[in-house]
Subunit: 568 residues, 2 copies
């Protein structure tokens, strides 16, 4: 490719509202442009990278025996009602109506459609195991799209689905996919971790996430200091504290502090340790509870873990935390005034909150707090559960060492779905004995567009992006210094270009002319190997080779340089 016939679209500055390095560099390097919130166009340079990522994914999936197909983005609501996800998925599921007022969805994943295909096409255990995949556009109507293609609404995903007669076969394919994912991310030179995870809206029991470690990651991963333990904190158990419930020393008293809106503020103002306070949340109860609402109580310095809470059988799924308006039936003032004493709804107490004594909470009236509360004496604590996120220093649930946290970008997720979809949708095969049997299923996703951003988060410097060779938009850039003035330099550049291209390399020949501008752009775009052709060096028979990652410069003869590039 020659820049004169290309859409380079580099920018000196990124727009102001950009939050992450990858988003900034993708905009500046002319890889993407925002069309609307969460909707991005992939400009030529970006698409080249995306296609190479998809190429690696496709190759490793094929190597692992998966078969490629392609399912529609627009899907009839009927299938989603069959699986139950029409109601379960929440507002991220983009629903549409066609001209005849029939309901459809823009698919966020394809479990329903593939299960429908499986129940029609698979009749016998002899056709199993089967593992199919697609690389397809997905849509999620994110509440808060952000970080560019990292959390966008329309995105490209590789999703695979496997079908099995039994659990054993599922586990085998799951392990193959685990290995394929490791191969994929290794080929992209990513620093990643495999962590155990929650299955969320997809469902199933066992599940692992693949995380690229980066400070801008939206997920927190818990690692153990003394073992291989690694899990998304969504899914990391906070063990019960070793201590028993503290012995009561005080009597509960009400204190008025009209200006103070939350118990945490109250503790700060009065110099009380925040660990002696509890926060209270009101959430919708599940259908099988007599009450509509349940209160959850965690220590003031802890955070509610929404994944754990949503999984409790007393709590409605998906989780619905009451709004101020809905909550005002239970107290006066804002939700910061909530507390367990006298609230009049069933309570579930976090394990760490349940061992407190003489603690403090809101008194369900604006600016009113109870001090010296004790479980049993002042309020019952019959239901105790793990409701909170782990924090650094917590004991590891594996039993060895303490937890420390790192941020991660989720680029892959694999699930052992079991038979939940095949049972709800009637996807059965005949087994060896001629009996109908619901198939075991697995589901395996990689966010291809997100991977592109994740690679940049781990590969950049103050000049721009630094691509690993395997997914660089171009492997080699040729920059003739003032090439527009010197036909001799341009001739050398053209002949080198033609030769490298004929050997199957992706080469960008910058034939624009201003050396400083050209070099800066090639560095910003992150082309790993840059060849500068200058008058003086050429007179001595040399070209200058620059390695983008190290910044190392080296003079080489044309032949040595060609041999070097071919050996990469």
């Amino acid at each position: 490719m020659r820049t004169s016939n290309y859409l380079l679209s580099t920018l000196k500055e990124a727009p102001k509202d950009v939050e992450t390095t990858s988003q900034k560099l993708m905009l500046r390097a002319g890889m993407i442009r925002q069309l609307a919130s969460g909707l991005y166009t992939w400009l030529p340079t970006g698409l080249r990278v995306l296609r190479k990522v998809e190429g690696i994914v496709r190759q490793e999936m094929n190597n692992a025996g998966a078969i490629e197909m392609l399912m529609p983005i627009v899907q009839p609501s009927g299938l989603w009602k069959e699986s139950g996800r029409w109601t379960k998925f929440g507002p991220e599921l983009q629903r549409i109506k066609d001209r005849q007022n029939r309901s459809f969805v823009l698919a966020p994943t394809h479990e329903e459609v593939i299960t429908d295909i499986a129940r029609n096409e698979l009749k016998s255990y002899k056709q199993l195991p089967l593992n199919v995949f697609q690389i397809q556009t997905k849509f999620r109507d994110e509440m808060r799209p952000r970080f560019g293609v990292m959390r966008s609404r329309e995105f490209t995903m590789k999703d695979a689905y496997s079908f099995h007669l039994d659990k054993e076969s599922l586990v085998e394919t799951y392990a193959k996919m685990h290995q394929a994912y490791c191969n994929i991310f290794t080929r992209m030179e990513l620093d990643f971790r495999v962590v155990s995870a929650d299955s969320g809206a997809i469902g199933g029991a066992t599940s692992h996430e693949f995380h690229v470690l980066a400070e801008t990651g939206e997920d927190l991963i818990a690692f153990s200091t003394d073992s291989n333990f690694a899990a998304n904190i969504e899914n990391t158990e906070a063990l019960s504290p070793f201590k028993r419930q503290a012995i009561a020393e005080k009597t509960m008293t009400r204190i008025e502090a009209p200006e103070v809106r939350t118990v945490v503020q109250f503790a700060k103002q009065y110099g009380i340790s925040i660990e002696k306070t509890v926060k209270t949340y009101l959430v919708k109860a599940s259908d099988k509870m007599q009450e509509d609402v349940i209160a959850l109580v965690v220590r003031g310095d802890h955070e509610l873990n929404e994944t754990k809470v949503a999984a409790l059988c007393d709590v409605a799924y998906p989780l619905h935390v009451l709004t101020d308006r809905e909550a005002c039936e239970y107290m006066t003032g804002g939700k910061g005034a909530l507390g367990p004493v006298g609230l009049g709804v069933p309570l579930i107490i976090d394990r760490s909150a349940a061992v407190l004594g003489d603690f403090i909470s809101g008194a369900n009236a604006e600016g009113n707090y109870f001090c010296g509360i004790n479980w049993g004496t002042d309020v019952d604590a019959t239901k105790v559960a793990d409701l909170r996120n782990v924090v650094e220093g917590d004991p590891s649930p594996c039993g060895q060492g303490k937890l420390f946290l790192k941020r991660g970008i989720e680029v892959g997720h694999i699930f052992q779905l079991g038979s939940q979809y095949s049972e709800s949708m009637g996807a059965t095969v005949l087994d060896v004995y001629g009996r109908q049997q619901a198939m075991e299923m697995g589901s395996y996703g990689i966010g291809c567009s997100r991977v592109v951003a994740a690679v940049i988060e781990q590969n950049n410097d103050n000049l721009g992006i630094i691509w690993p060779d395997a997914i660089a938009p171009f492997q080699v850039a040729i920059v003739p210094v003032s090439g527009h003035k010197s036909s001799r330099l341009l001739d050398v550049a053209e002949s080198l270009y033609t030769e490298l291209v004929s050997k199957g390399m992706d080469v960008l020949l910058d034939d624009r002319g201003r050396f400083g501008v050209m070099l800066k752009d090639m560095e910003l775009i992150g082309i790993p190997h840059i060849i500068v052709i200058g008058e003086e060096n050429l007179n001595q028979g040399f070209l200058e080779y620059r390695e983008r990652r190290t910044g190392k410069k080296q003079l080489m003869s044309v032949d040595v340089l060609k041999a070097y590039l071919e050996n990469l």
Copy 2:
């Protein structure tokens, strides 16, 4: 690929409601499955063909200097309002609302988004010409999806858009695209014609369609017996008849025929030539007319040409033919009773109808007809226009020969858009003199998924599909006769398979076992080269080679066969 690890999904019978050969064969060969009306899953065999079609398209577009990028499917309505297509496009445009009640479309084409990108990224004539393309999913909420992927709602299209400083440059790129399209369809071994066409909802002046000739085509193409003239009948002028208006011989009289609903029925019943009747249509008038409604009059044996009518400046765009309910203001009974006499709305008369004398029409009352009508005497015919489809035998508008008609499947369409989008959306660049100038644009589409069906329409026999080598899902099938019983046959098959695959060929090894079933499937799927490995032949050192297209069988030694396949 081995069938044992593949999703073959062939069917003995296609579902009953299937209308065309390609749809039937795509279903039977396990290429596609219908998810809902107009929505199809591409099974592995189908996707292999689609990807090869896309690959050829991509290669020829790259060769012609076009640059690939990727634009979102979901697009904000604002851009469509800017271009005016939000109102113009009609109900085929799928509109959606997101969780915040903002309006979006599922894009049927991408002129708006690319023009938005161009106005942001292109600043100077030095960046022109630029030709960008994408291969992307499109959506049209078709009133009547049919013929499988031929007219589906979700489909894959290659769309390209070019930007130019002047018309001359546009014409140059247009010619390049014309040539690229010819290369593409020639590589797929299609029998196609380039015909001049109407620009429809896309807009612009000059436009050509690429049609694959096939009886199942939805379009009618008019050719001249004596010249190269070829045009979609949407866009073929029906010349004025050579004869003058006939001289009146009769006086208009009203006849009651209570059982007769239309003038054509009336003529049949009374043995009158249908060419002596006229049909009348009521359509919405354009905004600039004083009246709301206009009547169009064509001869009873002619068909209204909606493209021509919609383009008339007196008629509203898009065309709206009045429903029975809307029309009842102007007559009693059904619309078949309509006639020009006493209708009370402005008339536009087709050229062929305008030369009639003593003709017959409805009398705007159920079962009432006027006979012996003459223009001027009984009703005015001040406005005459070309309103009808041409028919076989009409003089060719090129002036040479007569027209004959053939059916075609539109697989490509190229447009010289001019500056309509760049002007309405303000996409300008600075020209050589530093003046802002709206860019000239071209737009170029190929329906990739439709191409697959079109190839099948032209390449099939009673056994199934016959793929051209370039887009076959597999080039070679290896069928060991009773391979499951004889490890020797399977060994030969495996070793041949490994060798051919290592040479880059797409090979399907059928390792299922029942020869008849295997061979029938390979023929149905249409694999061009089939190798049968049988015990007896093998004992004599031979394999059997079968050419799918000719059915020719030939015994060859392994070495001769390998050399033959490599030379293809």
